[in-house]
């Protein structure tokens, strides 16, 4: 063992720079890998932990208007053996303007009285007091962070007799309301507050917790429930699986992408290790012969190579893991913030341990595999000849008197073709760089387009949404009068339909959210990815996920049950939407019976050249707080800004690391190449080639490899990214994502690769200048 350690020590000293570069590469790969592992574990474990800890219901059934016999519903569920417990809470839906610290915000809240002594549906106070009193309110983390509400703030809330201030005494983790887009969100008040201040007739919020949870069981139970009701349930439901999907989709997909990227880097490292070990064996040919003649076994010599790289891994992985701590901490903090999970670093330590084991195993196997040919070296041959017999193959590309191709470029091409393995590895390095840079660029842009395209989140291209949903100050006619102003290009009223149900199959129906448009959908650019908007009362456009689930397409008929009546519609268009998990439909408002028509919101498109802020200011000044005005662009930005930031952060981090890995790898490969080609460079110098010309030969070669690799990488990245994004997006209901790519920035990626090859060549070829031809040839 001591002998192996000594050989390792000598090898480290001999190839200090090469080993340092390998160490940096492993370190960066470990960094990405550790973050990826941490992200995957984040997407799973903390959510389940919080859910179980707080004994949260898997399903919340909103019975707000008492149109259902809630006791009967509760009895039905209590009678099912699959259900562990049924909870029932008084609730009141608060919809309208609430004042916070002098400003007003539009809110859609379900107020519930917190069951102090009940161990079901607990919440976790992460900031504030554990007691709720009169005129005090607890709000969920998501609602608080979205609206920048702190403990101690006052909510000026509309109550039975005007407006009352409710003091926020705690921000709580309420699992169903801590992630995603929550409409409504939930807030808690003390026992008796609802009847005292808000309503005489409270609704009920029924919670179901299952003994064992599965999607199939849930669908089966729901079908049985509707059979019991004798009709489809037409209220709002909140589902654990939808929630989990929303929560996990971003983390797990990004985590998986990071693991994939780090796997590519690890693969790349393995290729480089194999190449370098092959080279080292040729370089150490005599030493190996001498060691063998001194009685060292093949196993011991292989062991010295394996051990050398393992030591490198054991240094690199903890450093890489340590550097990943900041990123993991930032991510885990965001989870702590929304889920209230105590950050105890276990996630980090676990990810680091996994990285350590994975890297150790991979590197040990690759090193052993690469150094296996040591067994074939015969001591006498090694000592006598000093180098393995080299097989020189004829290169088909000949250097000749080409008019339009310079000698140096011809030399580069021939060198490239003669050293196929080396060239392939360099091209592979650039392929990965091109792939990942184009991946980062395409992902960021595609997500940006998706998330900031209102058409894709269930909206349209209107600038503002004006609503009068609380109907306290203005009538619809007053509102419509406002809209007939010269600043406005057009407006269309929309009604939200939350009671329509659609049959998914023979036994299962679901309440599906719908929008009924009181005007021309085309005028506010409502989008479909295929087909057209409904123009007749019997026409409908459906969300892609809904179309997928019911197995229907354009021209098919779909029936919507509005409770009191059913109506069949012909599908004219299918659209993408992130809203309501992709289950959504759009119809003309005139398709509804006249008594049911009620405008909830007005979509406004301003005339070209009208300044949005000025218009908004003017509206507020003229009509005060009579209406809710929502800037649609800001709304989407607010909802998806964090996810976008996370994606950007990951894209920048990965691009940065890959760029560094590429530079150091090319530097390392060049060093190895130059060491192996010293004699040839010496000959070149002898017959009058300058250092710059030799450097340019290597540079041209690397640039050629870089361009070829980068272009392939970009093409693979383009299609691969599309494939990955489409896979992720189909999980949240977007089946026809348009991948956003532009040629010019992708050409910049090629340029970046060219620059990388130039820089890494400049760094690695400097030593050629210092060596005189004699030494090059004799060495």
């Amino acid at each position: 063992m001591r002998a192996i350690l000594k050989i390792c020590g000598a090898a480290f000293r001999k190839n200090r720079i090469r080993n340092l570069i390998n160490l940096i590469t492993f370190m960066l790969a470990a960094l990405i890998f550790t973050v990826g592992i941490a992200m995957l574990s984040m997407s799973q474990e903390p959510f389940d932990r919080t859910f179980d800890k707080l004994n949260t219901s898997h399903k919340l059934i909103y019975c707000g208007d008492n149109s259902y016999d809630t006791d009967d519903i509760a009895r039905f569920w209590e009678g099912r053996e699959e259900v562990e417990n049924v909870s029932m809470l008084d609730m009141f839906t608060l919809q309208g303007k609430v004042g916070i610290n002098g400003e007003t915000i539009d809110t859609y809240l379900v107020l519930c009285e917190y069951p102090k002594d009940d161990d079901r549906n607990r919440v976790m106070v992460i900031e504030g007091t554990e007691e709720l009193g009169e005129n005090e309110i607890w709000i969920s983390t998501q609602f608080a962070y979205d609206n920048n509400i702190k403990v101690g703030s006052f909510l000026s809330t509309p109550v039975k007799n005007g407006v009352e201030d409710y003091k926020v005494t705690a921000i709580v983790v309420d699992p169903h309301y801590c992630v995603g887009v929550n409409n409504p969100s939930r807030a808690w008040v003390a026992k008796g507050e609802l009847k005292r201040n808000f309503t005489d007739e409270t609704g009920k919020l029924i919670g179901l917790r299952y003994k064992q949870y599965s999607d199939a069981q849930e669908d089966e139970l729901w079908a049985a429930f509707e059979q019991h009701l004798g009709k489809a349930y037409q209220g709002i439901c909140k589902d654990y699986r939808t929630l989990v999907k929303e929560y996990r989709s971003s983390y797990s997909s990004i985590g998986a992408v990071m693991i994939t990227l780090s796997a590519i880097i690890i693969l790349f490292c393995c290729v480089i290790i194999s190449y370098i070990i092959s080279y080292s064996i040729s370089e150490d040919y005599v030493t190996i012969g001498v060691l063998k003649s001194e009685g060292f076994s093949t196993g011991q010599i292989i062991g010295s190579y394996v051990f050398q790289y393992l030591i490198m891994i054991w240094i690199a992985v903890p450093i890489g893991g340590f550097l990943s701590f900041g990123t993991i901490k930032a991510l885990s903090d965001s989870i702590t913030k929304t889920l209230g999970v105590v950050s105890d670093n276990s996630m980090y330590i676990g990810a680091l341990a996994v990285s350590f084991i994975v890297f150790t195993l991979i590197v040990a196997l690759v090193t052993m595999r690469a150094s296996i040919k040591i067994g074939k070296i015969k001591p006498s041959q090694a000592i006598r000849y000093g180098a393995p017999a080299e097989e020189v193959r004829e290169c088909k590309f000949k250097i000749r008197d080409r008019k339009y191709l310079g000698t140096k470029l011809q030399l580069s091409i021939q060198d490239l073709l003669s050293k196929k393995k080396h060239s392939l590895i360099v091209a592979f390095a650039f392929l990965i760089t091109g792939l990942i840079l184009s991946f980062a660029y395409t992902t960021t842009n595609t997500y940006k387009e998706i998330l900031f395209d209102p058409g894709l989140v269930g909206w349209d291209e209107s600038e503002f949404s004006l609503s009068n949903s609380h109907r306290t100050s203005a009538t619809d006619s007053e509102l419509e009068e406002i809209l007939d102003k010269e600043d406005i290009e057009c407006w269309v009223p929309i009604q939200f339909i939350s009671t329509g149900t659609i049959k998914f199959d023979d036994s299962l129906t679901r309440t599906v959210m719908g929008y009924a448009y009181g005007g021309d959908m085309d005028s506010v650019s409502v989008k479909n990815y295929v087909g057209t908007n409904p123009h007749e009362d019997n026409e409908i456009s459906v969300g892609s996920r809904l179309a997928h689930r019911v197995g229907k397409t354009i021209g098919d008929t779909i029936e919507v049950d509005f409770g009191e009546y059913k109506k069949a519609f012909v599908i004219t268009g299918i659209f993408e939407t992130l809203n309501n998990d992709g289950y959504l439909y759009r119809i003309k408002q005139t398709a509804l019976e006249e008594k049911d028509r009620l405008n909830d919101v007005y979509q406004i498109v301003l005339k070209e050249g009208t300044d949005k802020d000025t218009y908004r200011k003017h509206l507020v000044e003229a009509y005060g707080d009579a209406f809710d005005i929502q800037d649609n662009e800001k709304f989407v930005e607010k909802k998806f800004g964090n996810l976008m930031m996370l994606i950007n952060l990951i894209a920048v981090l990965v691009s940065f690391i890959i760029t560094i890995v590429c530079i150091v790898s090319i530097y390392n490969l060049n060093n190895t190449d130059i060491s192996g080609s010293k004699r040839i460079f010496g000959i070149y110098k002898t017959f009058g080639m300058s250092y710059r010309q030799i450097r340019n030969i290597i540079m041209n070669k690397n640039i050629l490899c870089g361009v070829v690799g980068a272009v392939i990488g970009i093409i693979v990245g383009y299609f691969g990214t599309g494939f990955i994004i489409k896979g992720i997006m189909s999980g949240i209901g977007l089946y026809h994502v348009v991948i956003t790519n532009k040629v010019a920035p992708l050409l910049i990626v090629v340029l970046i690769c060219v620059l990388l090859s130039i820089f890494s060549t400049l760094f690695s070829t400097r030593k050629i200048a210092q060596i005189n031809p004699r030494n090059l040839i004799i060495d």
């Binding site: 080299e390 020189v392 193959r393 004829e394 290169c395 000949k398 250097i399 000749r400 008197d401 080409r402 008019k403 000698t407 030399l411 021939q414 003669s418 004699r679 040839i680 010496g682 000959i683 110098k685 002898t686 017959f687 009058g688 080639m689 300058s690 250092y691 010309q693 005189n772 031809p773 004699r774 040839i777």
Partner: protein, 254 residues
């Protein structure tokens, strides 16, 4: 005083190598002139500094003291660009270890150095063909060095050294790695070149090779120990020349 034109002049030339912390002197204040059109041979024992002398005067290695003057210019003072021009146009070099580029064909090995300094590539190819023809290698020009014999390889190296019509051809034991027949063949080529006016400086420890020269410089411990002037070589004269060289060496106690 010789009437020949001096092509290279060494004045107090010194060369030392660093071995660990010590400087080991190899050439000590060496003063010598090399004349145009001569076939000059450097002889000496192992470690006498023959190869070091050759590399130093040809500009492939730096001197650590004194001057090497080529055509009135000090070689050690040449800037990188001038040095590159010097190596391209003024000298050709032939190594003992042959040193052909293994993945170049015979033709490429000869023509590539020519492409570097001649813009008319056609002209280079023509000259390379002529040189290879002269070396009786025309039929081998598409082969790789590994596909021809050692003697043929060395002739390719000579052709490469001559592609830019250098004023002086340096050869470091060009027959050292060859068998006697191949060596003879190579020496014949060099003799023929010299007859055509090519200046040659060759290092050898082989008397048979040395007798091709018209001037032999004997090196001992980094200094010139003696100079032997000979008449021009003829094959019939070979035995006598060998004897003369042998006696000269013997007189110096080698």
């Amino acid at each position: 005083m010789s009437s020949k034109k001096t092509i290279i002049e060494c004045r107090d030339m010194c060369k030392s190598y660093q071995t660990g912390k010590e400087m080991v002197p190899v050439l000590n204040n060496l003063n010598i002139e090399i004349y145009e059109g001569d076939f000059t041979v450097i002889m000496g024992n192992s470690g006498s500094g023959k190869s070091t002398f050759l590399y130093s005067v040809s500009g492939l290695d730096n001197v650590t003291g004194g001057k090497v003057i080529y055509d009135g210019k000090e070689v050690q003072d040449l800037k990188e660009k001038q040095m590159v021009e010097f190596r391209r146009k003024e000298i050709g070099f032939v190594f003992q270890a042959i040193c052909l580029v293994p993945n170049f064909t015979v033709m490429e090995n000869v023509s590539v150095p020519g492409f570097l300094c001649e813009k008319n590539k056609r002209k280079v190819v023509d000259r390379a063909s002529r040189l290879l023809e002269m070396m009786e290698l025309k039929s081998e020009m598409k082969r790789l060095p590994s596909q021809i014999s050692g003697g043929q390889q060395q002739k390719v190296a000579i052709a490469r050294g001559l592609i830019n019509s250098p004023r002086i051809l340096f050869a470091d034991e060009p027959t050292g790695a060859l068998n006697s027949k191949q060596g003879e063949n190579v020496l014949d080529v060099m003799t023929r070149l010299n007859e055509q006016g090519q200046s040659i400086v060759m290092v050898t420890h082989d008397i048979k090779a040395a007798c091709r020269a018209n001037r032999i410089l004997f090196l001992r411990d980094g200094v010139i120990d003696g100079v032997l002037e000979l008449s021009l070589y003829t094959p019939e004269d070979e035995d006598r020349r060998e004897q003369e060289i042998y006696e000269f060496i013997k007189k110096r106690g080698w």
